[in-house]
C-alpha cells in the first residue's frame, strides 16, 4: 500500500514539476506581485498592500476597457454562435456544393487572427477598401469605420465574429450529425414541421454543444485581442481597448508589471466566475445523452 503510494508519486513527479514550474509558480508569483510596487532600475519592489487594487478602481481606462469588453462580448458571442448554428444547419442538409461551403465556412478558422486582421484592414480602408468600393457603386460616400470612436468597436467585433463562427460551426455540425435520422423521421411522422422539429428535437439535443461553445465564446471574447493590436491599437481614444489588450499595454508598453499583474488577477477571477456561473446556470437546462 505505502509502496504503491510512493510509486504513484514518483510517476506523477515529472508532470508535477512541469506544472509547478510553469503554471502554479507563475500564478502564485503573479498574485504576489499585485501586493508590491513595480521595481524600477535600482529601486526594488516594495510591499504596497492593496495600493494596486485601489489604483485599478480609480483607473478610468480600466473601467472603459471593461465596458468595451462587455459590449464586445455581448455582440460577438450571440452573433458568432447564432451564425455558427445557421451555417451548420445549412451544410448539414443534403445540398449541392455542400463540401465547398463547409470548407469556405471553416477557412477563417485556420487563418491566424493577425492575417485575418490584415484582410479586414483592407476591407475597412477609407476610400478604396472593399466596403467603400461597394458603397461607391451605390453612390454612397467614403467611411472610416475603424477610425471613428462610435463605430470602431463594432468594426473589430465583426472581425471576431467572422473568425469564430466557422470554428463553432464545426462543433454544431458534429453534434447535428450525431442526431439519429430516425428521430427526425419519427417527428415528421407525428406531423412536426421543420420549425417544430428544430425547436422540439434538434435544439434540445444540441444543448450540451451550446454550453460548450458558449463557454469557449466567453473566454475568447476576453482573450483574443491580436486583431486589436493590428487594427486599432486600442484606439481611437481607447474606443477599442479591451481588458486583455489594455493589460498587454500596461505590461509590455508601459512596463508597469505590478499593475499588469493586478489586471491579470482581476481578469482571471472575473472569467472564472463567469464560466462557473454559466455551468451552474445552464447545466440544469442541458440534456446529456
Amino acid at each position: 500500500m505505502r509502496r504503491q503510494t510512493l510509486t504513484a508519486w514518483a510517476l506523477l513527479l515529472p508532470a508535477a514539476c512541469l506544472l509547478v514550474v510553469f503554471t502554479h509558480g507563475p500564478v502564485l508569483r503573479t498574485v504576489l506581485a499585485t501586493f508590491y510596487t513595480t521595481p524600477h532600475g535600482r529601486l526594488p519592489a516594495k510591499f504596497a498592500g492593496f495600493d494596486n487594487y485601489a489604483h485599478l478602481i480609480a483607473d478610468p481606462i480600466f473601467w472603459q476597457a471593461l465596458r468595451n469588453n462587455l459590449l464586445y462580448a455581448g455582440l460577438t458571442i450571440p452573433a458568432s454562435m447564432g451564425l455558427a448554428l445557421v451555417m451548420a444547419l445549412l451544410v448539414n442538409g443534403r445540398m449541392r456544393g455542400r463540401g465547398f461551403l463547409r470548407m469556405a465556412f471553416f477557412t477563417p478558422t485556420v487563418l491566424p487572427l493577425i492575417a485575418v486582421a490584415n484582410i479586414w484592414i483592407f476591407f475597412y480602408q477609407p476610400g478604396f477598401g472593399l466596403i467603400d468600393q461597394i458603397r461607391g457603386l451605390f453612390g454612397l460616400g467614403a467611411t472610416n469605420l475603424l477610425g471613428q470612436g462610435d463605430s470602431a468597436l463594432y468594426a473589430v467585433a465583426a472581425v471576431a465574429v467572422w473568425k469564430e463562427a466557422g470554428f463553432f460551426m464545426i462543433f454544431y455540425l458534429a453534434a447535428l450529425q450525431a442526431i439519429p435520422q430516425s428521430l427526425i423521421e419519427a417527428a415528421r411522422l407525428e406531423g412536426a414541421n421543420a420549425l417544430q422539429i428544430f425547436r422540439r428535437v434538434i435544439w434540445p439535443l444540441l444543448t450540451p454543444t451550446t454550453l460548450f461553445v458558449a463557454v469557449n465564446a466567453v473566454v475568447n471574447a476576453f482573450r483574443l485581442v491580436d486583431h486589436i493590436y493590428q487594427m486599432t491599437g486600442g484606439g481611437p481614444n481607447n474606443a477599442t481597448a479591451l481588458l486583455f489588450y489594455y493589460l498587454y499595454q500596461v505590461g509590455f508598453q508601459f512596463w508597469d508589471t505590478a499593475y499588469a499583474a493586478t489586471l491579470t488577477t482581476v481578469l482571471v477571477v472575473v472569467l472564472g466566475l463567469v464560466s462557473v456561473g454559466q455551468f451552474l446556470f445552464l447545466d440544469r437546462k442541458v440534456h446529456y445523452q
Binding site: 430516425s182 423521421e185 419519427a186 411522422l189 407525428e190 422540439r200 434540445p204 445523452q289
Partner: protein
C-alpha cells in the same frame, strides 16, 4: 401483461373503418442506380397482421419507408382504400410507425414521448391525459411516466415506442423489426402481446422481420421477400405446405427443407432430374427404405435431429427421440409420395405436375 382496458373502436376517433386495405402496385425504388425494390405488388388487408419476411438487406425497411412516406418511390402507387397516398406527407397518411431503433426522444420523459404527436396537434390537455392513461395501462407502463428513455430497460423502451404509435389511434401501424433488440424470452412475450393488441384494436398491422418464427407465429399473412422482389405471399400454413420456390422452401421452417437431387433419392422419370424437397419431419425410418449413413445427430428432448448423407447431399431428419437410432449407423429412409415437393433445378420455381 396486457391490462384489460377497452381502447379503440368505441373511443370516438378510434381505429378507422375496417375495409381500408393498403394496396401497393408496381412499387419500385432504386438508390444510386441499384434496384432495391422491383415491382412490388401486394395488398395488405384491413384489420389483419401482415408480416413482411425476408433476409437482411432484401428491402423490407425501404418498403416500409415508402409506405410511411419517409421516402418516395421511383415507380408504382400506394393506395389506402381508394385514396392515392403519393401526394400526402407522412403525417397525413393515417399511418403510425414503430422504428427498429425505437426512435424515442432522449431528452423527453416517457409521457412526453408518447404525447409528442398529440401536443403538436394541440389536442386538448384532458384528452391527452385520458389517452395517455389508457395506453400506459394497456402496455403496463404505469409509474414510469417521468423517466427518460435512458432510464428504461430495452423492453420498456419497446413498449413506449409501441404506446407512441397506438396513442395516435391511426388505423394502420407499421413495425420495423420491433423485437430485434430484445432477448429471446422478452421477444416471445412481446410477440403474443403485440398480436393480442392488434386483434383487440382491429389494427391493420404491417410487421417487418427477418425471423421466420416471428412470422409464422404472428402472421395472418406472410409476404416473403428476396432481393427486392416478393417471392411468395400467403397464410403461414399455406407457404409452409407449398413453398413456391427453393428460396421459400429453405427460408421458412426450422430446420430448412431438405433439397435433394431426385436421382439421389432413387427417383426415376421426370423426377430424376428435379430438385426434390423433403421436410425434416416427413422422413421416417422404414425397413424397406433407402440406406444412408448417419453423419450426426442432435438431441432436442422430444425430437432427435439426425443428419444422414444421400449421395453427396446432407439431409436432416426430425425423428421421435424415443425411437432411438439404428445400431449399425445406417438409417433406412422412407417417405410418403405426397410429402415430396418438386422444384425446377434451374429456375428454382415449384413444379406442380407430378
Amino acid at each position: 401483461m396486457i391490462a384489460q382496458t377497452d381502447i379503440g373502436r368505441q373511443s370516438g376517433s378510434g381505429p378507422a373503418s375496417p375495409g381500408a386495405g393498403l394496396r401497393l402496385s408496381g412499387l419500385a425504388r432504386a438508390i444510386a442506380g441499384r434496384r432495391i425494390l422491383d415491382g412490388i405488388d401486394v395488398t395488405f388487408e384491413a384489420g389483419a397482421l401482415s408480416v413482411i419476411l425476408g433476409p437482411s438487406g432484401c428491402g423490407k425497411s425501404t418498403l416500409l419507408r415508402l409506405i410511411a412516406g419517409l421516402d418516395a418511390p421511383d415507380g408504382g402507387t400506394i393506395h389506402l382504400g381508394a385514396r392515392d397516398l403519393a401526394p400526402l406527407p407522412p403525417a397525413a397518411r393515417d399511418i403510425a410507425m414503430v422504428f427498429q431503433s425505437y426512435a424515442l426522444f432522449p431528452h423527453l420523459t416517457m409521457a412526453e414521448n408518447i404525447l409528442f404527436g398529440l401536443s403538436l396537434r394541440r389536442v386538448a390537455r384532458v384528452d391527452q391525459a385520458r389517452r395517455l392513461a389508457r395506453v400506459v395501462e394497456m402496455l403496463g407502463l404505469g409509474g414510469l411516466e417521468a423517466r427518460k428513455p435512458a432510464q428504461l430497460s430495452g423492453g420498456q423502451q419497446q413498449r413506449v415506442a409501441l404506446a407512441r404509435a397506438l396513442i395516435s389511434e391511426r388505423p394502420i401501424c407499421l413495425m420495423d423489426e420491433p423485437l430485434s433488440n430484445l432477448d429471446a424470452k422478452l421477444r416471445a412475450e412481446m410477440r403474443s402481446e403485440i398480436r393480442a393488441l392488434q386483434q383487440r384494436l382491429g389494427l391493420t398491422m404491417i410487421y417487418v422481420t427477418h425471423d421466420q418464427v416471428e412470422a409464422m407465429t404472428m402472421a395472418d399473412k406472410i409476404v416473403l421477400m428476396n432481393e427486392g422482389r416478393i417471392e411468395q405471399e400467403g397464410a403461414p400454413e399455406a407457404i409452409y405446405a407449398a413453398p413456391a420456390s427453393r428460396f421459400a422452401a429453405r427460408f421458412i421452417g426450422m430446420p430448412p427443407m431438405n433439397l435433394i437431387p431426385g436421382a439421389a433419392l432413387g427417383l426415376t422419370g421426370h423426377d430424376a432430374g428435379r430438385l426434390i424437397g423433403l421436410r425434416a419431419e416427413d422422413g421416417r425410418i422404414d425397413p424397406q427404405g433407402l440406406a444412408a449413413p448417419i453423419v450426426a445427430h442432435e438431441f432436442h428432448g422430444a425430437d432427435l435431429f439426425v443428419t444422414i448423407r444421400l449421395a453427396e447431399t446432407p439431409v436432416m431428419l426430425r425423428l421421435p427421440a424415443r425411437t432411438g437410432l439404428p445400431a449399425d449407423g445406417i438409417l433406412r429412409l422412407g417417405w410418403d409420395a405426397g410429402a415430396l415437393h418438386r422444384f425446377d433445378p434451374v429456375t428454382g420455381r415449384r413444379l406442380t405436375e407430378p
